[in-house]
């Protein structure tokens, strides 16, 4: 019962912050709404008994990535968003993709329910740091390593881009 009330309140907060992010004309406010949204999602994870993911969500998305966003917005002085859409094909594509997502989610929910039983309930140590560590470094070791190599490549690329070209003018 408490979980349901918590979930309803949080869902409203999540939707409102997402709308605020989309509708605010000031880039700083949009970024801050997104931070709130990430924090709300983190609380959802705690409700689902996955504290590890919740903390990672706050640290990585709210704490690191959004700070960089704000940093760039302030550095460029780009608080005022342009009134016109810079990419005209973006809006129809977004609507189409959203529809696909809604249909897929609806199909999964109703088809699974028709087949009997929703989803398996979580194991007792589900979401504990130990369980996630064991999973990550045994069963999903290869994807984990591939992801880390990808991130490394991105980092090297960023460093190369910031370097001055040899022989070029300062």
């Amino acid at each position: 019962m408490t979980n349901l009330v918590l979930f309803l309140v949080l869902a409203v907060v999540a939707v409102v912050t997402a709308l605020g992010m989309l509708l605010s004309r000031n880039a700083v406010y949009a970024a801050l709404f997104l931070v709130l949204n990430f924090a709300t999602v983190a609380v959802f994870y705690i409700l689902l008994e996955a504290p590890f993911i919740a903390m990672t969500q706050v640290t990585v998305y709210a704490g690191a990535i959004m700070v960089l966003f704000l940093f760039v917005i302030m550095l460029l002085g780009a608080e005022r968003l342009p009134g016109t859409e810079p990419l005209p094909w973006q809006r129809p594509l977004a609507i189409f993709l959203a529809l696909v997502l809604a249909v897929e989610a609806g199909y999964l929910l109703f088809a699974r329910r028709a087949a009997g039983g929703m989803f398996a309930s979580a194991a007792p140590d589900f979401g504990s740091p130990q369980a996630i560590g064991t999973m990550l470094f045994n069963r999903y070791l290869l994807p984990f390593e591939v992801t880390s190599v990808l991130l490394l490549v991105a980092m090297v690329g960023a460093i190369v881009l910031t370097k001055k070209e040899k022989g070029g003018r300062e």
Partner: protein, 364 residues
């Protein structure tokens, strides 16, 4: 979940916030007296015996000061920024255990507000949120100096967060848990500072940068930025920034004491669990004195040097220390960890020394 349990949590949280707020007030007095002593002055000694009423006088003065809001400032964020700075500093302390369980009024009471199984991650998450207050204060003031201070602090805090995060790893690996209580209990009989001295040093340096304390107080460098991100703040709003800095100093010291200096452990704590909070308090005061001592000793580091130090020295060393700790645990040779990490630390110091000397020669 009975109502007595909720009452217990509320009481413990209230005690924690009360301790942090009085601690903040008396830490300012402690700092002023200690700095005065180091600089062969006397310091504040007029208000009450030994100046003990000085924090009360300061607080009253700040309450009665006029609060200014710049005309072109973003009013909402300008008001919100000090609050966003203070709250993380206070809730960070929730996961720190003050002692073993004690019996009080016939109830088993654990001496920590929240005993999370992801305690270390909680600290990382909350401390990564803390940067917003400073950035928003800088931006919403609509002042060039404040904005520069805010940008500097966000760059600095993100950079040193990496080294800080990696400095947590040796403690997690050695304790085999992210729960703060487990980490403390694993330091019996050897504190982690003995097993991993270099990791402790990295942690202490990175935390100094995280709380913007001297010699890493670039965001509020008076000579170049007047006062950095809080240039436009006055009255109680300024006091909130002040409070956040000192509350964070206390919390960071208690985290360092818990992760590396044995937390509430000490002689006799098995027999008398009430000694735990006392030992933790003593350790926190010693670490705080170290911070004040550093402020009195070192000049502020130049900004490019600060970033170079964070990325090119502290981060690689922290990676090496993490690797060495894992190696020592896998090989089951714990003595290997302090030996190898001290060697790595000395090598780093020697390389930095060489680079600086070469620069000095090039200039001469």
């Amino acid at each position: 979940m009975d109502s007595a349990l909720i009452l217990e949590w509320v009481i413990k949280s209230a005690i924690l916030i009360f301790v942090l707020l009085t601690g903040f007030a008396y830490l300012t007095l402690f700092e002023r007296r200690a700095l005065a002593r180091i600089q062969v002055r006397i310091g504040p000694n007029r208000a009450g015996p030994f100046g003990l009423l000085q924090p009360v006088a300061d607080g009253l003065k700040l309450i009665f000061k006029e609060e200014l809001t710049p005309a072109e400032a973003d009013k909402v964020l300008f008001t919100l920024a000090p609050v966003v700075t203070v709250v993380p500093a206070l809730i960070l302390a929730a996961v720190i255990p003050w002692g073993r369980d004690v019996t009080l009024f016939g109830r088993q009471v654990s001496l920590s507000v929240a005993d999370l199984n992801v305690g270390v991650l909680y600290i990382m998450a909350v401390s990564s949120i803390a940067v917003y207050g400073i950035v928003l204060a800088g931006w919403s003031s609509n002042n060039k100096y404040a904005l520069l201070g805010g940008l500097r602090s966000s760059a600095q805090m993100i950079s040193y967060e990496l080294a800080l995060g990696l400095a947590f790893v040796p403690a997690i690996l050695l304790a085999d848990s992210m729960r703060m209580v487990d980490i403390v209990e694993a330091q019996h009989p050897w504190w982690f500072v003995v097993i991993q001295p270099v990791g402790t040093a990295i942690f202490l340096i990175a935390t100094l940068a995280e709380v913007n304390r001297a010699p890493f107080d670039m965001p509020e460098a008076e000579q170049e930025l007047t006062a950095g991100y809080h240039t436009e703040y006055s009255g109680m709003k300024f006091a909130l920034f002040f409070m956040a800095e000192y509350a964070k100093m206390i919390v960071i010291s208690s985290i360092a004491a818990t992760l590396f200096f044995g937390g509430y452990l000490g002689p006799g704590v098995d027999r008398y669990p009430w000694l735990g909070p006392l030992y933790l308090f003593i350790k926190i005061v010693i670490l705080l004195f170290g911070m004040i001592w550093l402020r009195a000793t070192f000049p502020r580091i130049r900004y490019d040097r600060l970033m170079a130090f964070g990325w090119k020295v502290l981060l690689p060393l922290a990676l090496a220390v993490t690797f060495i700790t894992a190696l020592g645990i896998v090989l089951e040779m714990l003595w290997l960890i302090p030996v190898l990490s001290l060697a790595a630390g000395l090598f780093t110091v020697a390389m930095v020394h060489r680079a600086l000397r070469r620069k000095a020669y090039a200039r001469a």
